[in-house]
Amino acid sequence: MAPKKNSAKRPQPSTPKPSAPARIVKVQSSDGHILQADVRALLLSSTLAATIKGYDDENKPLEKLEVNNVVGFTLKLVLEWCEKHKEDDPAIAQAEKDKKNIFIPSWDRHFLTKLPMGNLFDLITAAYHLDITGLINYGCKTVANSAKGKSTEEMRELFGIPEPWEQPSTSTATWDD
């Protein structure tokens, strides 16, 4: 006799909760690139959230948001991060901000560490201008992690610090030996 197939319904993979249809708006970078983004993702930026709220309060149609201090390539990265985190509770990022040791989830770790340092700098700076707390937290933690175990010479190279240190005291006399 063939084994009886389990006819009970297996648990289905969790599906996203039904939510309001995505409201897509255009976002224009400082160098004229136009990208599209879900408003929920944009609300992670306090700066953009205030602008969106302004439009909504006045019942104006929001067709295009202009981000004047972020170039297209960086803005694309910002929007990619925001899209991934659009379901996040902003309070969590705010609470993490005060932590001494921030944990970076694997997706974010991969996303941030794959970037060349120059792009990471632009991304963190953009997150700062757009006031995206979660991205600032993870970005700064990534920069701090990159300094771990580095000597002064290696840090100079990593952070592009050209000026050599003048060695004035006994405590540093052997530093470059």
Binding site: K97, K100, N101, I102, P116, M117, G118, L120, F121, I124, T125, Y128, I136, N137, C140, K141, V143, A144, N145, S146, A147, K148, G149, K150, S151, T152, M155, R156, E157, L158, F159, G160, I161, P162, E163, P164, W165, E166, S169, T170, S171, T172, A173, T174, W175, D177
Partner: protein, 203 residues
């Protein structure tokens, strides 16, 4: 391509520095004068710092301790022993203490700085004492007469004075005279070998 850390806005630098430990920030501060100033401007770290009389510099926050550990071995200078401990030149420990205070901007009213150092002094009557200086919540200057029970370090050996050493011992005078003629004081191992540790010398 490097990341131009020093071009970050100060708010962001503060966020980065908050995730660094004192050893990492010390290395960063040594990159350049601008880097040192930047570390200071990154904002208060809420660390506590303590200098224990030439023994070590301790920085801590909550349950995290970081040690700047003086050493005489030049080959070990600035070596990181673990994530929390680094060797520093013994001669420069005092300068290092003030360098760290300045670099980490730890001179605010709410910052905790504790310093304990002692220098050996002699009174006119010959009393040997230590002048103990503490800079903490309440600064104080204390004249401490040496008390071996209280003041000895664990691995430190007490070399007694001649009077103390031979006070209750019975020795053969001739054998003892040999020791007295030498300027060097015998150390404890030598004392053991020569029967000073309660053993009756052969007559």
């Amino acid at each position: 391509m490097p990341i131009a850390l020093l071009k970050f806005p100060y708010d962001l630098l503060g966020e980065v520095f908050k995730q660094c430990n004192p050893l990492e920030l010390y290395f960063l501060s040594k990159c350049s004068k601008k880097a040192q100033k930047t570390v200071k401007l990154g904002g208060s770290m809420n660390w506590k710092i303590c200098y224990w009389g030439r023994e070590q510099i301790l920085i801590w926050r909550d349950d995290l301790n970081y040690i700047f550990d003086p050493t005489d071995k030049p080959e070990d200078y600035f070596k990181i022993e673990s994530c929390e401990s680094m060797k520093i030149p013994k001669e420069g420990a005092f300068d290092m203490f003030f360098y760290l205070i300045e670099t980490f901007g730890m001179l605010g009213e709410d910052d905790y700085i504790f310093m304990c150092d002692a220098v050996k002094v002699y009174k006119d009557d010959g009393t040997e004492a230590w002048l103990d200086v503490e800079l903490g919540d309440v600064s104080k200057l204390e004249f401490l007469v040496w008390d071996p029970d209280r003041d000895m370090w664990e691995d430190e050996e007490l070399v007694p004075s001649d009077d103390e050493r031979y006070e209750d011992e019975e020795f053969d005078d001739e054998e003892f005279d040999d020791e007295e003629t030498e300027d060097e004081e015998p150390d404890e191992e030598e004392s053991d070998e020569e029967g000073f540790d309660g053993e009756e010398p052969e007559s």
